[in-house]
């Protein structure tokens, strides 16, 4: 499942990822590498979602807080760990390793407590205390490092000699001091050689633990990301989805970015519920009634689930999709030299191929809307037939009744209620903000309907938006002129 950068932007992925905050460089690297699981990794995805659920259940367990505090001190020492196999480490590298092993032993202790409660699958963190013992044979757990004279007889001897001459240097001056400094140079060279030999010896004794150390670094990156996901669930919500074979359903799904924007405007996101099966369904409804938001919300939550994150819904059942295909006129990535229509065609082409190779979720947002309506209808009908037979799950946002008529399942954004419309008009006359009134008259919820006929609400929207009076009259005149039995405007403003 791949999305272009533009598509990720379009579905509002950044809002979620910006709030996913691992605490260590290793966790941040895992976050950067976050991508949808491939079909052959389905088992791993299921395990990840289950593990995340168990991590969320830990709440603010004190051991979890301790673990996360430890992660903040974690540095990426993979290069140093790798060098264990290549050459002798120097003192600073040994220091890095010792400090890491001390931190690891604390993290592993906290992990054991968490693990006993969460019982994660396939997650482990092993303390490498034998390696720590090489660098801290006295067991002092002091977070600094030096090559101790007591670890090497040769080093002890040369350091004693060095200390003796340095004491004399401190007590003399002039030429005598210069002479002593020259003698000291020879001793310093022997000390360096003894230190080098000791570094080589320590490295050799650490080398067998290299795989365990590398493994622990990998595990810490994974745990950091897992706990960051759990923190995200606590901040933004989200529930563990169930993975299904073919059926998709969401109960009270939300889009966190849109919900956040609405909240700041004093409004509320209307949760969306829908279920889809293989084949094509349609989603229709009034302009500005939330069809595109519904599509984005669906796409975002499907994508998040496939990345091992929780979707934002009270309940979610999600099949494993090989591909998520978004066909949106204005949302397309404007490949060189292609108009919006051309971009849509390329996207539709990609989707047509994808459904032949795998099980996909295909979302069409008013396919071919940029071309003339008679042709657009044919394109939509054709696409509908093709994708309906594809075996993949497809949803068409459309304004064409002829397309809706072909669908076995139809969803409708509820739109403007008649009752609210009268109230809305009164409020606009009283000088209220038109967009706010429109929003309050709109029911953004969706429901499954049986009838294929579509509510005609464009005029009502135009009126509430306060389109210039003569223009509105002229449009209204066209409604009267073209009044046909199959074209049943429920409401023509000014005629009730």
């Amino acid at each position: 499942m791949e999305l272009t950068h533009k598509q990720k932007e379009d579905i509002g992925l950044a809002f979620v990822l910006d709030r996913l905050s691992p605490l260590s460089p290793l966790g941040r690297e895992k976050k950067r590498a976050l991508e949808p699981y491939a079909r052959e990794e389905r088992g791993a995805l299921e395990r990840e979602l289950e593990n995340l659920d168990r991590a969320v259940a830990l709440g603010d367990h004190p051991a979890l807080n301790r673990f996360r505090q430890g992660l903040m001190q974690l540095r990426d020492i993979r290069a140093t760990a790798d060098r264990l196999n290549e050459r002798s480490l120097d003192q600073v590298e040994l220091f890095e390793l010792k400090r890491y092993l001390l931190l690891l032993s604390e993290l592993a202790a906290a992990f054991r407590i968490l693990e006993a409660q969460a019982r994660w699958e396939g997650l482990s963190l092993r303390d490498v205390s034998q390696a720590l013992a090489v660098l801290d044979p006295e067991g002092e757990r002091n977070p600094t490092f030096s090559l101790r004279a007591s670890w090497s007889e040769e080093l002890a001897a040369v350091r004693a000699e060095k200390a003796g001459i340095e004491k004399r240097i401190a007590q003399t001056s002039g030429e005598e001091r210069e002479g002593l400094l020259t003698r000291r140079t020879g001793i310093v060279a022997r000390e360096a050689a003894a230190e080098q030999a000791l570094c080589e010896d320590l490295t050799r004794r650490l080398r067998p633990w290299q795989p365990a150390i590398a493994e622990s670094l990998e595990a810490l990156g994974r745990l950091d990301l897992l706990f960051a996901k759990a923190a995200l669930v606590r901040e933004l919500g989200g529930r563990k989805p169930t993975l299904t074979e073919k059926e998709l359903s969401f109960v009270n799904m939300v889009h966190p970015a849109v919900a956040d924007r609405l909240r700041r405007q004093g409004a509320r996101f209307t949760p969306l519920s829908l279920s889809l099966s293989p084949g094509a369904a349609v989603l229709t409804g009034a302009n500005m009634g939330g069809k595109s938001v519904c599509l984005k919300t669906l796409a975002l939550n499907i994508y998040l689930t496939h990345c091992g994150l929780f979707p934002f819904a009270q309940r979610a059942a999600v099949p494993f999709f090989d591909q998520l295909c978004l066909i949106r006129g204005e949302g397309e990535d404007g490949r060189e030299g292609l108009s919006s229509f051309g971009g849509e065609l390329m996207a539709a082409d990609g989707a047509a191929r994808a459904v032949r190779e795998g099980f996909c979720l295909v979302l069409f947002d008013e396919f071919a809307r940029g071309t003339n309506p008679a042709e657009a209808q044919r394109f939509q009908q054709g696409a509908f037939s093709y994708f309906d037979r594809s075996g993949s799950v497809c949803l068409f946002v459309t304004h064409y009744e002829a397309v809706a008529a072909r669908a076995r399942r139809r969803f409708l954004t509820r739109g403007i209620r008649d009752m609210d419309l009268a109230e809305g008009r009164r409020r606009i006359e009283a000088g209220a903000d038109k967009l706010a009134v429109l929003r309050s008259c709109m029911d953004y919820g969706i429901e499954e309907v049986t009838a294929a006929d579509l509510p005609q609400r464009a005029l009502a929207v135009a009126e509430l938006l306060g389109v210039e009076g003569e223009l509105l009259s002229a449009i209204r005149a066209e409604y009267r002129a073209e009044y046909r039995p199959e074209y049943r405007p429920e409401y023509i403003p000014g005629e009730d």
């Binding site: 120097d90 600073v92 600094t144 490092f145 030096s146 060095k162 200390a163 401190a170 310093v188 000390e191």
Partner: protein, 319 residues
């Protein structure tokens, strides 16, 4: 006794008028002073001096000789030039072209080469970390004055080193040293008003300044550096503010001539934070040419500055 002069300060920066002004000699004297008084010392530098020529021939030794117990900060790759036995205490997360800056504790006496961070906030963080490791005093090798600044946030006290290497004219060396000393001891100007966030340098400096000064003209507050170009733009105006305020003395990137011309027009300078100039050290020997007469140079500088003057080559400095 140089060390006694810095007794009141926890952080002291050593700034030099030029290379070979005697900064390192002063630093070594302070290290010995700390040893004698049992004061635990930490050393860092602001960035690092450029490569020395003698590095190529391989005869080079770092000039700073520390006492066992001293803390020091240096870049990882420079550790091979340090011959004191050491303990690694910390890696700071500050990176230099020669690797990350590490904090070490010398376990023996020996030569070390310093390379610390160059941004003020990093220096402050490093200083605090070193104090956390038990340092009672932090000395900051300020490299060359003006090119590497020693802001008051980073160091409470400043020692200014000057010497014959500055130039052949002893009189000029003394006057320029006195000028720098004056910049470092400008009076504090009290709290700043809310600055309008106006930025200069996008068009003609003179027009911009005139624009900004219209109607007011009492005081000019400069958030960044106050330069010669700004001084000459001010001097072209008929009316001129009475005061110029800068963050601290290191922000006045001003020649003595400009400073004096402004002073002659009645402009005085104020700083938000003041450096404490602890002492001026003088080195009559030049690395490049004729030495000055030691006594005459000492007396000349002493007559120009209001703080203690110490001759770095005299024995008195050592005890």
């Amino acid at each position: 006794m140089l060390f006694d002069l810095i007794a009141p300060y926890t952080t002291v920066c050593l700034a030099g008028m030029c290379k070979n002004a005697g900064k390192t000699t002063a630093l070594n004297a302070l290290i010995r002073g700390a040893r004698e008084r049992g004061v635990s010392l930490a050393l860092t530098s602001i960035g690092r001096d450029g490569e020395r020529e003698d590095l190529i021939t391989g005869t080079y030794k770092p000039p700073i000789y520390v006492t066992g117990g001293t803390l020091f900060a240096t870049a990882r790759e420079l550790l091979q030039r340090c011959d004191a036995t050491y303990e690694v205490l910390s890696l700071t997360g500050v990176y230099t072209p020669l690797g990350e800056v590490a904090i070490l504790r010398a376990l023996s006496d020996g030569f070390v080469e310093l390379a610390g961070p160059s941004m003020t906030e990093q220096i402050v963080a490093l200083t605090e970390e070193m104090e956390g490791f038990g340092a009672q005093k932090v000395l900051i090798d300020g490299a060359l004055f003006r090119r590497s600044l020693c802001a008051p946030e980073a160091a409470e006290g400043v020692i200014l080193a000057t010497g014959a290497s500055y130039g052949p004219n002893m009189q000029k060396t003394a006057e320029d040293t006195a000028f720098v000393a004056r910049l470092l001891t400008l009076p504090e100007g009290g709290p700043w008003p809310d600055l309008q966030g106006r930025r200069f340098g996008r068009g003609d400096l003179y027009d911009e300044l005139s624009d900004a000064l219209e109607g007011t003209g009492e005081a000019l507050y400069v958030a960044g550096a106050f330069t010669d170009a700004m001084a000459s733009a001010l001097l072209r105006r008929r009316t001129i503010p009475h005061q110029v305020h800068v963050e601290d003395g290191t922000r006045l990137l001003l020649s003595r001539e400009s400073y004096e011309k402004l002073a002659a027009r009645g402009v005085s300078f104020r700083v938000r934070r003041r450096n404490e100039l602890v002492a001026v050290t003088v080195n009559p020997f030049s690395a490049y040419g004729t030495p000055y007469d030691p006594a005459a140079f000492y007396e000349l500088v002493k007559s120009r500055v209001a703080v203690p003057v110490v001759n770095v080559l005299e024995k008195t400095i050592w005890n």
